[in-house]
Point group: C2
């Protein structure tokens, strides 16, 4: 162990040397710096509005911005953004002062109501709904203008952002779009002491201590960034909520945030703790059927809406991982959700009730046996309740049945609740994908889940369509667990910003292609230069698969270190609950590896639609990416590649390490074309990712070899250290604890 | 309670309204913005280098910078700073490329060794020592130049910063200066999980998780800011230290920080936990006289110096507040300090051993009796050890005998350890002075302590002179507990930056005047305009006394809330140790108030030199500011003002509240002349300060009235709420916990 640690320490001396050299060369750098783009610190996200190349610049109508819509905070925000954007893109020092005169070559903001009833655009506006927009070149009042039109003020704001994005991505007009899902939310797992559970980007951006009196201007930039993507809600606090959240001082703080977000079309929501009234000693119970309890919540809802008139509603984690809930009183999730929903309904609020539940009293997992499967618990509890929820309850389901793994099959509930509006819960912060130190673009993960065909009712129904209520008209939503903190880059690294971006864009349009989203992000965030964007997109698109390969290939899952989830720990077998142990999930033994979830195992497979279940029931028709998720197979099992399962597993780990190295090499080619500061930061992170990919591969293979006694295939390098060295590593100060 | 909280919540609705209005006026703001200075976010501290007014600009020699000293990381840093500074001050887009040709009107950096041996400047350089500098206009190689000269590279860096400062403050040349104290340190109370004990400016700037491979460019700006003041050391971690600090992974992280700070003349130090080798299971004891223990520390010191060749040494908190120490083995502080010192001595390192000790086994405080006095403990333990410490041990003493109160008399040890080098420990972070939400400029506090005449040996010896070893040739140092974090403003607010600045400037020259330091800070941080600087300096200079008045006037102390030290809690009487309770310190009772520390009390007064003790022994000759620190007096005691003690106390509380209101009003007059963003932030903080000043005053007076049963003097308003409302307030999520 000490040896290993020393080696890790020694490996760093080279980076120290580079640092020293960098200092020695300061004076040279002073001269050389001019040749590269000016340093940036990532704060401006994809809203940098860097000056366009001259040829593109010439195409941009740069006239005055006129708004036919009366000034409102939202319209003002749209105008301010257009001015900021055009000033940047055109490289003009300061835009012309705008009045509301429609001029030739100008930009016009107009709602349907501001335009003549017989204007040609009206029929196209009618189908856009309350948030859609349309941007086109047209004639208005005799002038050639760029028209940003919508039915509402927030549509104008979204349209303004869309046009600025189109200018930077070379997208042709007209552009018309409206969102598929009504609720597109960020879930902040931010605590009241400003720590962030699973946060890798500094403290919470919400400075609760200073709110409500001291309002950080950063909240406005947060709102701009979200509005630019169409995100229209924010749950401000952790799902592991505290009772104090519903005290008057905290409601005042939330109201101050809501006041900043409101002009940007973003509603504020709160996570609430089930037992709040009981803990505040204001009721004698937390039984959802106790009238005193229901009355308390009604009165609390009234109090909140007096302060935050457009409050969005509650997010609830109940009877899960030790949180209290209605089952403590012999009631079910619908009893609990409906009681809260009735308190919020008069004000138009909703309850988002999480289906991430495990180890309730009904499902004690006492030992590793074939019938106990944490993956099956949510379905077992929620499926019987389909149709029993009030209209303003949305059941929020994680993308996979376990917990935000690098890869999971889709959660079976998405195909199983036709009478209930569902909300997708993605995790943008990378709890299990290397925190903010590994580059892993999540666009492909989101896409994989959203496009999965549930075959619900025997029909083609993608997860996205299930959320949109294509099947039964129950429109749901989508939430992303935010990766935003107080760090200067917002997300802990430049590339982690892409996951916020991709979530927001795909929340607006779940059919978007992950690669196309990566490209538009890169164009706005890094450069218009295709010598930059092409390799950046390539890097991004291989990155998530690289992580899967060096962490948990072929359907393996949950082999991360205890608690913090940093690094490999497949050997852990001594935690209190069997389903907290990695050995529960991979089940590696002398005879083979993998979790049997078919008929011979937990039969969780039966929770999917029959067509899906049939495909996954047979190892031969199960996609290799999910093989060990559904099957326990001998190490010698013959893979489609012709290799044995063991050799294939090793090949995946090796490929993961090779990909991490390739990503590093690819960045070195991009680096001279971007600013030195961001270029160096990415390079430092990729170096660490490569080092940790090797660590993952070596530790996992050393462990599996101890279990199966098999040699590595020829040409594959033995792990750098003995297994006990990896087992001895400890990370008591890892970030992200709640 | 609920009522009170609701009122507080309601009071905020006005600020929400202001926010809404601000949004509504966005479009107006767009036009109006041009008239005010551009928004700033405080990141650039006092190194903004804002363009000088034209008249001043014309005076600045703006020729090339030439260095006769060979390029080194430090010389390069000086040149880079001169270029950055002059570009900013002169408003030129990018300075001319420098070579090393001495040109007319140019700037020349030269060490004594780079100049002719018979140059006129040589005798003046000889007295500057290894860190001093000289800046003057002179002829060199036939050209009129500005010469920055020193004996060392770091002297050139300090001189460069000094010249840039002189340009902004209108200070005439020549300027020559060298520091009075060899060690001028920041103590970071930063934990390995990136929380900061008593930190109110976000997380630690040290991103331990990402170090050593990922190096935040912010560390360089930290180094620049410190070098601009002459701070030459940083203790990276909390005095409540963890054993892991001395593990190889952490040493590598500290080394990466050291590599960034080194060119700026800043050495890295570490706080160490006494029991480290025992906890790491590498020794069987932590007895300082056990050869195995001493050998472990020698080997550990060798290991550190292999990685950090200029490592500064250890800071130790031992046998204090539950920390382990040599007394656990029946040894004394000198035994412990000397053992560590001998491990460091071969490498030139020092041990800074803290005298902040209380409740060791020798001083159990079991009840409030006249002989138990926490204020007396450090002296009792350390005075007998004077002369027993090795040459490379420095005893580090807090400015006052209790704990960083808004006002304390000077610690008696400063006049009592002639044979021991002493280090002053100030607290820059405002644990007891309103965190980062109250404006309290600490320059006057520093000055009050440094200029205090100890009368040691019957002579005039100020504390500063005692530190400088004027008495016995034992040169000590000065440390400030940093208020730096990852917040964009570094210090949690713009005005808190002034405390970092004042500490650094007064560490270099302890004779500096607090008002003059405030002025130069304001000139660099806010504006050259006297319409800004005059009121800003006025505000600053009244601020600390305002805090004393509304928190703890007339020598009262330690009446803050339990643990977090936020807000008033004079009623607390139920904590485990008597000397953790506010009632232990104020001793308010029916008969009177105050802590008797003279002959009729704890006799802590006898620890001062006789002349000092005599003055403080008689209430009539005790300065009113320290009255209740040293004396328990009847409420009816007649004050010099003619008022009763009770009426005087109320008058002080009222004055504190009035001052907080006056500060707010004064800022509103400055605000139109500074940028909108910083202007609004300060205004929001002053509004909260005023509200909390009122809270302090009302809660304390309500409590004292309950104790003494006396009416308020005519014209003084009764507290806004009953005492129980104040007692019921709780702050479980206050920042700054360790």
């Amino acid at each position: 162990m000490q040896r290993f640690v020393m080696r890790r320490a020694a490996a760093l001396s080279s980076s120290l040397y580079r640092l020293l050299l960098a200092c020695l060369c300061l004076s040279l750098c002073l001269d050389a710096a001019a040749a590269r783009p000016a340093d940036e610190d990532g704060y401006r996200l994809w809203l940098r509005y860097a000056t366009l190349p001259a040829a593109q610049r010439a195409q941009v109508p740069a006239g005055r911005t006129a708004s036919l819509a009366p000034d409102s905070p939202t319209v003002c925000a749209a105008r301010a953004e257009l001015q900021r954007g055009l000033d940047g893109l055109l490289g003009r020092p300061s835009g012309p002062a705008d009045d509301n005169t429609v001029t030739d070559g100008g930009i016009v903001l107009a709602r349907a109501a501001d335009l003549p009833a017989d204007a040609a655009v009206q029929p196209r506006l009618r189908v856009l709904g309350s948030e859609g927009y349309l941007v086109e070149r047209t004639r208005l009042r005799g002038q050639e203008v760029t028209l940003v039109a919508a039915n509402t003020d927030v549509g104008l704001l979204y349209g303004s952002f869309a046009w600025l994005r189109a200018l930077q991505t070379g997208t042709a007009l007209p552009q018309a779009s409206s969102p598929a899902l009504a609720r597109r939310l960020l879930d902040h797992w931010d605590n009241l002491d400003r720590t962030v559970e699973r946060g890798y980007a500094g403290e919470s951006i919400w400075n609760w201590w200073e709110l409500p009196g001291i309002v950080d201007p950063r909240y406005t930039d947060y709102a701009r960034a979200n509005a630019s993507l169409g995100i229209n809600g924010a749950v401000l606090n952790n799902v592991n909520a505290k009772a104090e959240v519903l005290g008057a001082p905290f409601i005042a703080k939330a109201a101050a945030v809501a006041a900043v977000l409101r002009p940007y079309g973003i509603r504020v929501y709160l996570s609430v703790r089930w037992s709040t009234p009981l803990e505040l000693k204001q009721t004698r119970s937390a039984d959802p059927l106790d009238p005193e309890v229901a009355a308390w919540w009604r009165s609390k809802a009234d109090e909140i809406y007096r302060t935050i008139p457009d409050f969005g509603g509650f997010l609830v984690k109940a009877n899960s991982e030790g949180q209290p809930g209605p089952q403590d009183y012999g009631r079910n999730h619908a009893d609990g959700a409906n009681m809260l929903a009735r308190a919020l309904a008069p004000h138009g609020g909703v309850v988002m009730w999480r289906a991430f539940v495990y180890n309730p009293a009904s499902h004690p997992i006492k030992a590793v046996d074939k019938n106990s499967d944490r993956a099956a618990q949510a379905y077992d509890q929620f499926k019987p309740l389909d149709g029993k929820f009030d209209a303003n309850v949305i059941v929020q389901v994680k993308n996979g049945p376990i917990d935000f793994q690098p890869r999971e099959p889709v959660h079976p509930l998405f195909g199983a609740m036709p009478a209930t509006p569902l909300m997708m819960e993605f995790q943008i912060t990378k709890e299990y994908l290397g925190f903010a130190t590994h580059l892993a673009y999540l666009g492909p993960l989101f896409q994989e889940a959203l496009r999965f065909d549930t075959r619900a009712g025997g029909h083609a129904v993608t997860v996205a369509q299930a959320l949109e209520g294509k099947q039964a008209g129950k429109v749901g939503g989508i939430a992303g667990v935010a990766n935003i903190g107080s760090s200067r880059t917002w997300s802990g690294s430049d590339f982690d910003q892409a996951n916020w971006y991709a979530f927001g864009r795909m929340a607006w349009d779940p059919t978007l292609d992950a690669g196309a989203v990566a490209r538009e992000w890169a164009q706005q965030t890094w450069s218009q230069d295709v010598r930059v964007t092409a390799p950046v997109v390539d890097l991004m698109m291989r990155s998530r698969e690289a992580v899967v390969d060096y962490m948990t290939p072929l359907g393996l899952h949950h082999m991360m270190g205890t608690g913090h989830h940093h690094g490999p720990a497949p050997w852990v077998d001594n935690l209190e609950r069997p389903d907290w142990n990695p050995v529960y999930y991979h089940r590696a033994a002398r005879d083979g590896i993998g979790f049997a979830r078919g008929a011979v195992g937990s039969n969780a497979l039966a929770q999917y639609a029959p067509e899906v279940a049939r495909r996954f029931a047979d190892p031969a028709t199960t996609p290799p990416a999910f093989l060990l998720w559904f099957h326990h197979l001998p190490w010698t099992y013959r893979m489609p590649s012709g290799r044995s399962l063991w050799d294939e597993l090793v090949a995946h780990y090796d490929r993961g390490v090779a990909e991490a190295a390739a990503m590093q090499a690819e960045w070195e080619r991009v680096r001279p074309l971007v600013d030195a500061r961001r270029g160096a930061d990415v390079a430092q992170r990729l170096a660490r990712q490569r080092e940790e990919a090797q660590w993952w591969r070596d530790a996992c293979l050393a462990y599996f070899q101890q279990v199966n006694g098999l040699p590595l295939p020829p040409g594959s390098r033995p792990p750098a250290h003995p297994l006990e060295d990896y087992r001895a590593l400890a990370f008591p100060y890892a970030p992200g604890h709640g």
